[in-house]
């Protein structure tokens, strides 16, 4: 049975319309980032969910992995841009820990993410398209290795 799951998930991974986009920028001692899989992924997921609960589940996993991958890419770009002695602290997203969900709006606005990659924030502070992530990394001083 788990074999059937693996096969189906692999099929969906090949079919998934993943066109990840992201933007990041440094504002003082912080790096803001926003990544998304765009509207096409949401539409594909809605289509799958209409016919299959399992496909809805697998597509969710695929989407979460892919958008995290895009965030990793943005983080790597930001890290590569740091001056000697600077260090990128762990990535944190609004809604987790003490970072309020409402911070997403500031990140999206400052990065102009709506115009540039099509990410918007709803009245209830959710990101749309649904497979979108905002995050902040603080920039720290020398970690002793640089």
């Amino acid at each position: 049975m788990s074999g059937a799951c693996d096969i189906r998930k692999a099929e969906l991974e090949r079919e998934a319309p993943i066109e990840a986009k992201g933007v990041w920028a440094r504002f003082g001692e912080r790096v803001y980032m926003c990544g998304t899989l765009g509207a096409a992924f949401d539409a594909w997921q809605r289509r799958l969910a209409a016919l299959s609960g399992a496909d809805a589940y697998f597509s969710q996993q695929i989407g979460l992995d892919a958008v995290e991958c895009e965030m990793d890419r943005l983080e790597a770009e930001a890290r590569a841009s740091l001056a000697p002695g600077e260090k990128l602290m762990p990535r944190r997203s609004p809604g987790y820990g003490e970072m309020p969900l409402s911070l997403s709006r500031e990140i999206v606005d400052r990065l102009e993410a709506t115009r540039r990659i099509g990410v918007a924030v709803t009245d209830s502070c959710l990101l749309v398209p649904s497979k979108s992530v905002t995050a902040i990394c603080e920039i720290g001083g020398c970690d002793g290795r640089d």
Binding site: C5, R8, R46, A49, A120, T122, S124, C125, L126, S130
Partner: protein, 799 residues
């Protein structure tokens, strides 16, 4: 230089250079620093701009959150532009709201429309010369803005969209898709701004020139933007910019300016570079290319276009039409979106290129249902829609909501029909299906039908519709009632194609009414009609094929008198009833159970079919095959020996087996759950929450365990949930919420359900919902996962 219009260039970068602080909304400067704003307009006018865009880009109520009154801001912006650029026309500039419209986001179309309409009224009152909609990244929002401009002023409307490097909008619309929409809405000029530098815009201008009949507008950036230290930087200088813009004019653009990073120096350079250009040259070429194009009818969705042309026979899916479909009728009456979604997806998977949407059920609020169904279908369908209604009110509401240019089904030769339908389609855009009938009914001859088509074309021309805006239905009647019926229809299709030069459509299946083996006759009719020029057929995409059976051809061409041979041949070919076999049923149940446990959907459906064919009853299939298998997998999940994906795959397989039982074993009834007498379960994602994957998984699992689920969708208001739960006599109401910001709506829904005295148990779930929270808001149950939802439902409604 007659014919080329020069726009202005970047505004934000100019006011920032003039001292606008970072993060400050430039709109406020219409009140706080009008001289600085006027200076920017003046600089552009002195550089050659003949149209300047007033400082109103973000002056809509959804985007503007500053201290000033919007009417005052817009009036001030128009007046400042007039003062700064006295020699230029002043455009009311409309930018995006910064929100995403449903279904991608949470903004309702009407809210977007109202925000733009208000701006347009303010701008028109303040004396703007035209409306310039720009930087749009979503065809829905583009349509809302253009409609607002057209329906709230008499000003010319220009519209430009922001493409990405692949030549698409952020929501996936292609160049041709944008063109089809804007042509159908009747804008005066359109094209591209922002997003790209002029060099990267070139291939997309070339594509646009092939399909556009209007002047093409370009406002590229000064190259591609880069963010350095939080600031956006553009690197293309005036000379290089002007050189490339000249290539855009060569490609067909005739209204040119600049966007981000461009300055008066860029515009002056463009003006100088184009000094030797004869604009009539580019216009003439454009006109020639359009004239050369083969007449075709193009319709569009939010992401793509479909072209109807003679002999193509493309399939318009007919399954979202309640005529003869009891389950769809019920889904409409109950507000259940899941059924419609499934039908839409199945038809697209089967090859439908357009989906017909019809909600004509007696006693239903057709306008509200059609509007809702169009939006539901669009949320999963990348193909265009055919809005199918005889009610002008329903037609208007649906057309307003269509993302793209739809087919409109239909107008006919009756005066009343033409007077009602043409003005609505003119307003909202669309290609029109013209039925060849009038006050006297359906003519018996092709001559009569062609005459009606001509009359519809003539009347349509008075509204500005051209031949390519029509698709004519020659009408199919039953050959069992009139042996010449198909002959006349085929002749009409041929003459519509050849004599009138129009595209055609047929609902082919009427032809076989009253005869055996209808699919074979339908296929033959479709194939023969294609050979006579048929552009499109309204049919079931899973069944229709381009195949001509010789005996069927004899029937259709009136060579089989009274269809005698056909009836004789096909009556004998009817399958005999299967003989009952008790042993077969036992073996079948084992095979079915194994297929379900392994999550093999096709095998499960085949096993259920085999059981029924072997003489097993519907309840045998359910009780001996489906239920025990689901129980095994469910138990394994709860013990931790199976996991959610396995459970869901097993449930999908069970769902397919249930579907077979419903279709083939219970034709008198319409669902296993109602046979067992259980009350329905209403589920929804609460108001403000648009993340619905969890809810969809719960729905799938409940359905596949045989419960009757009414899925109201996502972002559903408490009032709507109360109303539907009451109306359908729900036994349970399930609510899902993902985030802390939306669980409040869950509490409010439960409060309203109780206040309204709805006799249903509530269960709640979602990422941030806990047992404590469920208790605190008075929910009857907390479901920590989808399987627990099933267990709760079994406890409340019976297993």
């Amino acid at each position: 230089m007659e014919g080329i219009d020069f726009l202005d260039g970047g505004f934000g970068t100019m006011v920032q250079a003039a001292g606008l602080p970072p993060g400050k909304d430039p709109t406020d400067w219409n009140v706080e620093n009008p001289d600085a704003v006027a200076s920017v307009h003046r600089a552009y006018a002195e550089s050659g701009s003949r149209i300047v865009l007033a400082n109103t880009f973000g002056a809509n109520r959804l985007k503007y959150h500053g201290p000033y009154d919007l009417k005052e801001l817009v009036a001030s912006a128009i007046s400042i532009a007039r003062r700064g650029a006295a020699s230029a026309k002043v455009a009311l500039d409309i930018g995006p709201t910064g929100r995403l419209l449903k279904p991608a986001g949470d903004l309702d179309f009407d809210d977007a429309y109202e925000a733009f309409a208000e701006m347009v009224r303010f701008g028109a009152e303040a004396g703007a010369d035209l409306v310039f909609v720009e930087t749009m990244g979503d065809t829905r929002e583009l349509k809302a803005a253009v409609l607002a401009a057209k329906l709230n002023s008499n000003l010319p409307v220009y519209a430009t969209v922001a493409l990405d490097e692949s030549g698409k909008l952020l929501t996936g619309a292609s160049v041709e898709c944008v063109a089809t929409l804007l042509e159908s809405l009747g804008v005066d000029a359109y094209g591209f701004n922002c997003g790209l530098g002029p060099d990267r815009m070139l291939p997309f201008v070339e594509r646009l020139a092939k399909v556009s009949t209007r002047p093409i507008v370009v406002k590229p950036n000064a190259g591609m933007p880069k963010i350095v230290e939080g600031k956006t930087v553009f690197t293309v200088g005036p000379a290089e910019f002007a050189e490339t813009v000249a290539k855009l004019v060569d490609a067909g653009a005739s209204i040119v300016g600049g966007c981000c990073g461009t300055t008066p120096a860029h515009i002056a350079a463009v003006r100088d570079a184009l000094a030797g250009y004869s604009t009539s040259r580019s216009f003439n070429r454009l006109a020639t290319e359009v004239a050369r194009a083969e007449p075709s009818t193009v319709v569009s969705s939010g992401t793509g276009v479909v072209e109807l042309r003679p002999h193509a026979g493309l399939v318009i899916g007919e399954r979202i039409n309640p005529t003869g479909k009891k389950l769809l009728k019920e889904a409409y009456l109950r507000g259940d979106t899941a059924y419609v979604l499934r039908e839409a997806v199945k038809q697209i998977d089967a090859g439908a290129e357009v989906l017909d949407v019809n909600c004509g059920v007696p006693g239903i609020d057709e306008a509200a249902t059609l509007e809702r169904t169009v939006e539901t279908v669009q949320s999963v369908a990348a193909c265009p829609i055919q809005v199918d209604t005889a009610d002008p009110v329903a037609l208007e509401r649906a057309l307003r909501r269509v993302n793209g240019k739809p087919l409109v089904n239909s107008v006919n030769g009756k005066r009343e029909s033409m007077d009602a339908v043409f003005p609505i389609v003119k307003k909202y855009g669309g290609a029109i299906v013209g039925l060849c009938l009038d006050e006297s009914g359906i003519p018996a001859t092709a001559d009569g039908r062609i005459a009606i088509a001509r009359r519809i074309l003539d009347e349509g021309a008075k509204y500005g519709f051209e031949k390519s805006d029509f698709v004519f239905d020659a009408l199919t009647l039953a050959v069992s009632a009139d042996p010449q019926a198909a002959v006349v229809t085929l002749e009409t299709v041929r003459r519509l194609t050849e004599e009138l030069g129009v595209n055609t459509v047929l609902g082919v299946s009427n032809v076989s009414f009253g005869l055996p083996n209808r699919p074979v006759l339908n296929n033959a009719m479709y194939a023969l009609a294609k050979r006579n020029g048929l552009s499109s057929a309204i049919a079931n995409p899973s069944l229709i094929r381009d195949v001509i059976d010789p005996a069927a051809e004899d029937v259709l061409l009136a060579r089989d008198r009274n269809c005698e041979q056909w009836i004789a041949l096909n009556a004998a070919a009817q399958p005999a009833a299967p003989a009952a076999s008790a042993n077969g049923a036992e073996g079948g149940a084992q095979a079915l159970g194994a297929a379900i446990r392994r999550g093999l959907r096709e095998d499960a459906a085949a096993a259920a079919k085999a059981m029924l064919a072997g003489g097993a009853g519907a309840m045998d299939v359910i009780e001996k095959g489906i239920v025990p298998a689901l129980e095994l997998v469910g138990d394994a999940f709860e013990k931790g020996t199976a996991f959610l994906p396995q459970l869901l795959m097993a449930a999908d397989a069970a769902g397919d087996a249930f579907a077979v039982v419903r279709k083939e074993g219970m034709k008198a009834a319409d669902g296993a759950s109602r046979v067992s007498g259980r009350r329905p379960i209403v589920i929804a994602t609460v108001k403000g929450d648009i993340h619905d994957i969890g809810k969809n998984i719960v729905r799938a699992l409940l359905e596949n365990y045989g419960f009757d689920v009414i899925d109201l969708g996502r972002d559903v208001a408490p009032e709507a949930i109360v109303e539907r739960a009451k109306a359908c006599g729900a036994g349970m109401v399930g609510l899902s919420a993902l985030m802390t910001t939306t669980v409040g709506a869950m509490a409010e829904t439960i409060r309203q359900l109780k206040a309204a005295g709805v006799d249903a148990k509530t269960f709640v779930g979602g990422a941030v919902v806990t047992q404590d929270y469920a208790d605190s808001i008075g929910a009857d149950f907390y479901a920590k996962d989808a399987m627990q939802s099933v267990r709760i439902a079994e406890r409340v409604l019976g297993a």
